[in-house]
Amino acid sequence: MSAASPALSVDTLTTEIRSRGTWYQAVRAVSFQVHARETVALVGESGCGKSLTALSIMGLLPLGVGRIAGGAIALDGEAVSGRSDAQMEKIRGNRIGMVFQEPMTSLNPVLSVGFQIAEPLIYHRGLSRRAAEARAIELMHLVRIPSAAERVGAYPHQFSGGMRQRVMIALALACAPKVLIADEPTTALDVTIQAQVLALIAGLQKSADLAVLLITHNLGVVASVADRVLVMYGGDVVESAAVRDLFARPTHPYTSALLAAMPRADRSSAVIAPIPGQVPTLADMPAGCRFQSRCPLREERCAQRPSLTAIDAAGTHQVRCWVRGGASS
């Protein structure tokens, strides 16, 4: 494909998960592209399907619990969906790296960090263990772990949370993939450490032309680091926009409600507006627009599922809403 093809492209991905013998759609026809040097954020509350989207891309859905029911995933224009697990093993850690939320539990406690960073190089690049561990020291330098050469043989429990997350980033990027998926990479960290880790990812992204898919529940993090944002609710993308557009003109009722519910550190906010109710379980999701049960603007036509339609001339700001979604009706 041409040089312009996106590093990661997800097209109408639908993922189902099983509960008590029934399969429910937990990700519904989600589409987006991530280009080199670009950060796309998937944002939403727990259970919105953002992490399942990432696991679907990686081919890491838990067997028997999750499955891809439709759609296509491509890396650099090359389709990778539908491949066997053995084929995906050659892609994971090689062409896509992934960083997880809990640096405490995501590293193997009984293997040295050096070996854990070296492992992808051993499997994907055929390096000897010795050569791979030498390279691991360089990678630890790259993620700015102090005194890397001395700490290469250390174990995860000897590192602080922030340093462990740097180890995770080092092993995710060991084989120089073009795509990095970061699933809540800083949620478990203190804010000052969060700032460091986000800065590190941004720096590495520039130097390695990385395409970053950032999954987070924190709109503040999104505002700081993302280029494009997809807001998800109940498995649907409800709003998709360039980051400035989204915060300048939050359009879907869920997006604006989320912003209004967030207490802010930078200004005195005497009032916050909670969103009533709670996210329904997948079994109880309403037909049509999934936000309707909590939406102040609910109308009769919300019983039908609205489509994601553009509300600006460039077509980059899209909203899935009958009421706010421009001329879609």
């Binding site: 998960i17 429910y24 399907g49 399942l52 999750g66 997948l282 079994a283």
Partner: protein
């Protein structure tokens, strides 16, 4: 998977899951039969277990004597049925004693910590330093083989295991905020230990109790096999095997039948214990 838990109301009750578990059902049927055998032994057993028949000693199974006769010409089938009484009685009483005493001590140790815990844990460590079976043998040898002493000996060997379990579970419970919430609300230590901690660790104690019941019955029969059981002529499974073992070359069936009785009992109890453990295991699929 965290995503999966958002699908529906989580957590089915342990006992709801336990009811549908085929292992528990199979185990319960076996145990029910045993209990009936033990309770109604005088009516079920075709002969008096101690009556010496006029037939040949060590006779093979026949129509009149389904499992044959022993070296005194006693009906083996009747003796096995009567033996169930001893096995179950000793096993249940010893286990329940150990469960109650061990759990109470363990909860106190885990809840208070500090010096109390150090003393209790120290003594528990010492008791656990003896092989359970050998300790039981020694106790019975020292105390004398009577049914009461056998029960006491088995209970003593089981207590440290329950102390350790209850202490560990209590420590895990202490990590949870509802204990501190209770203290902040001015609840007494006794109330917190026995109204809040105990019900929450009961599942684990019952699971272990069901597995220990098997161990207790096994220990009782082992004591009898070694010659430290309830004294003859009372019929016990281990005692019949002991006798059969002496005549292994003449008629090995005498040892085989009570062995099978013990085996079936063990399988029944272990099926229940395993099933309960699976049902209480949060990792198990619903």
């Amino acid at each position: 998977m965290s995503a999966a838990t958002t699908v529906g109301p989580a957590r089915v009750s342990t006992w709801t899951r336990a009811r549908g578990n085929p292992a528990i059902i199979a185990g319960s049927i076996i145990c029910l039969i045993l209990v009936i055998m033990a309770l109604f032994a005088p009516w079920i057993a075709p002969y008096d277990p101690n009556k010496q028949m006029l037939g040949p000693q060590l006779a093979d199974p026949s129509r009149a004597h389904w499992l044959g006769l022993d070296s005194f010409g006693r009906d083996v089938f009747s003796r096995i049925i009567w033996g169930a009484r001893i096995s179950l009685w000793v096993g249940v009483v010893a286990t329940v004693m150990a469960m109650i005493a061990g759990s109470a001590i363990g909860i106190v140790a885990g809840y208070f910590g500090g010096a109390i815990d150090r003393v209790i844990s120290g003594v528990t460590d010492i008791l656990l330093s003896f092989p359970q079976l050998v300790m039981g043998l020694l106790l019975v040898a020292v105390l004398g083989a009577s049914i009461g002493n056998i029960i006491l000996a088995i209970a003593i060997t089981a207590v440290p295991a329950f102390i350790r379990l209850a202490r560990g579970s209590t420590l895990a419970m202490r990590e949870r905020d509802f204990i501190d919430a209770g203290r902040a609300l001015g609840f007494s230590d006794m109330r917190i230990m026995f109204a809040h901690v105990a019900p929450n660790i009961l599942d684990e104690i019952i699971v272990m109790g069901s597995l220990w019941l098997a161990t207790a019955i096994r220990t009782e029969s082992t004591l009898a096999f070694i010659g430290l059981g309830v004294p003859p002529p009372t019929a016990t499974w281990g005692g019949i095997i002991r006798e059969g073992f002496e005549y292994l070359n003449d008629n090995y069936l005498l040892a085989v039948f009570p062995s099978l009785a013990i085996l079936i009992t063990m399988i029944g109890l272990n099926l229940i214990g395993d099933g309960l453990r699976d049902a209480t295991d949060p990792r198990a699929p619903q």
